[in-house]
Symmetry: C2
Subunit: 355 residues, 2 copies
């Protein structure tokens, strides 16, 4: 009863019930929104207490000798396993490599751990393994260790994959929310919402006139291209689970700054916009798997924009907004109608099991 | 039909059907025996092709600057989540830290990724998180990054945990099957079978006169204790899934040597021996989570044995056998009756989901 009530509430952006009272894990606890943050900040971080974890970055950074290392992990539970533009294997490699890239690191080594449900067709497993291998070669990471577990039929869902990655951070790179400054330009590398809509279209059996493909891709080379112009990049973030809105909210909070973005400047492909309208989704909250946000000093913003546009994954890059002093920890959108509205972090997740 | 036939066959040690013909994933593919090896050697390793993965060690090793680093990952799917002597959290930390220790490394950093089934009581999640935190402090590793995903009710099994670990290898340490030499002494750190029997007793609701606790523990400090006497250790291995027999077979094959062990020298606690008899299990194949095997030159075996016995996790250590030139890739047991028999690698798994 209590849980039913809570579940409905998760659909709303505001959260009147104190979220510490949840008695069970809800789907929304894995959605990348407020409930995920709650679990992380109230249960996980306090238990472990250490400054590296408290960075709450996409990955952790530490030093070996004189070399700075980035370390990241993610589990992938996407359904369906195969979708237009990729599969759980491509996602598992690119996703973790991207988390390293968002630390400014060059991805080097990857581990992969499979939790397979008994009865998974061997042919599907082979396709996924081949797709992991191909993607790893494209990204330039070496898969060096792994594990395989099998759970009974009905106790899993085909296959879950956990990848962990290790990357090296080049000298001079310092990506951290603490570096964000008022007036920083916010660059988005391309159009949003494609991954989420691609998944949803397969899951719901919806066909659009043009097939919408996931944007799943490795951002590591785009990041190195940016660094070739300047390493004075303050923050990098890939807006995955929870979409652009959640990523911006996380940064606004971590950096304790306000963020203003301009709706008209955010690239959204027409077919994604239509799909979102039909499905009643806000594209700002729909997951991406091959896009990044860069917070950079205004003085170098246009140079970085230009080099990003020369890269296949950044040809649609635009400056979507800037960092402001007022309304700290809040993201404000200037709409196409000239009004403004607060873009809150979502409580749950519009689309569960998107990655 | 075909699968049914194959499933029955998996119970036998010999495997007359060509195992490349499996059409679906079976529980036994995750058992740590022949079928696991098949999946690894025929599907995973060929797809990824790189010399670090081909080491097929508990973890991979690479170099950053002048520092040698060990990297390892494991997923934990044990049922039940809580058992005498530990829970899935203690297992997830100790298990991965032990894989690093088996590379000769000092475990330093850990990532943890949760795949939680919707509906898991929050209290259980908190207990598991606290137990991870406590175990990490005991081991001396810092948990620095992680991820949380939630899957729908009926698509998981309470919680699955994947940990990845990074450790540093002290100078002078070189643990690798290629170092194994004929006449090496094989030291076992203590009595076998406790983890498997502890899990099974809860799962099957069997009560023994004395409660059998899992031996789940971190072996990192025992390894450093061994190194304090000599770093000339050839191989370290923790006999987990598939038990002592599988671990010895893996080493015999990787090092291309024969192994002889003496049944009377293998410590087995009386209650474990009785439980195995009642349940029809061979203790050589039952999982351990706090024991190690060390392959060392005969000249230093007794010094190492003595220092191991001074450590709380090694007081029961014994030399159980030696490396021989004859019968390469084969493990031979000299029984209590004076006869000998080949101890083969198990095809499947006596006890699924043991870790």
């Amino acid at each position: 009863m209590y849980d039913d009530h809570v579940s409905k509430d998760v659909q709303n952006f505001s959260c009147p019930i104190p979220i510490t009272d949840y008695k069970t894990i809800l789907i929304a606890h894995g959605g990348g929104g407020k409930l995920s943050q709650h679990l992380l900040k109230n249960i996980i971080v306090p238990a472990f207490q250490n400054p590296l974890l408290e960075q709450l970055h996409d990955g952790a950074m530490f030093t070996v000798g004189e070399q700075r290392i980035a370390f990241s992990t993610d589990s992938y539970v996407v359904q369906p396993l195969f979708f237009p533009g990729g599969d759980i294997g491509t996602l598992a490699v690119n996703g973790t490599a991207n988390d390293l890239a968002m630390c400014g690191a060059i991805p080097k080594y990857l581990s992969v751990s499979f939790i397979i449900e008994e009865g998974l067709p061997m042919e599907q497993f082979k396709r996924i393994v081949e797709s992991i291998a191909l993607t790893a070669r494209q990204v330039g990471v070496e898969l060096i260790t792994g594990d395989t577990k099998v759970v009974n039929r009905g106790k899993g869902d085909g296959i879950f994959i956990t990848t962990s990655g290790i990357g090296v951070i080049p000298p001079g790179v310092d990506i951290h929310p603490r570096n964000v400054r008022v007036d920083d330009a916010i660059i988005l590398s391309g159009s949003i919402g494609e991954h989420g809509i691609a998944i949803l279209s397969v899951r719901e059996g919806i066909e659009f006139e043009t097939e919408i493909k996931s944007d799943c891709a490795s951002l590591a080379s785009l990041v190195q291209t940016i660094f070739s112009v300047s390493k004075e990049v303050h923050v990098l973030r890939d807006p995955t689970r929870g979409g652009l809105a959640s990523a911006l909210n996380e940064i606004a909070e971590a950096a304790n700054v306000g963020i203003e973005i301009d709706e008209s400047s955010i690239p959204i492909r027409e077919e994604v916009r239509s799909a979102c309208e039909i499905l009643g989704l806000d594209p700002l909250y729909v997951a991406n798997e091959g896009k990044l946000l860069a917070f950079v000093p205004p003085s170098i913003a246009h140079k970085i924009l230009a080099i990003m546009r020369s890269h296949p994954l950044g040809y649609n890059a635009t400056i979507i907004g800037r960092v402001v002093e007022k309304h700290p920890c809040t993201v404000v959108l200037r709409t196409n109608f000239g009004t403004t509205r607060v873009v809150d972090m979502i409580s749950g997740e519009q689309l569960p099991r998107i990655c």
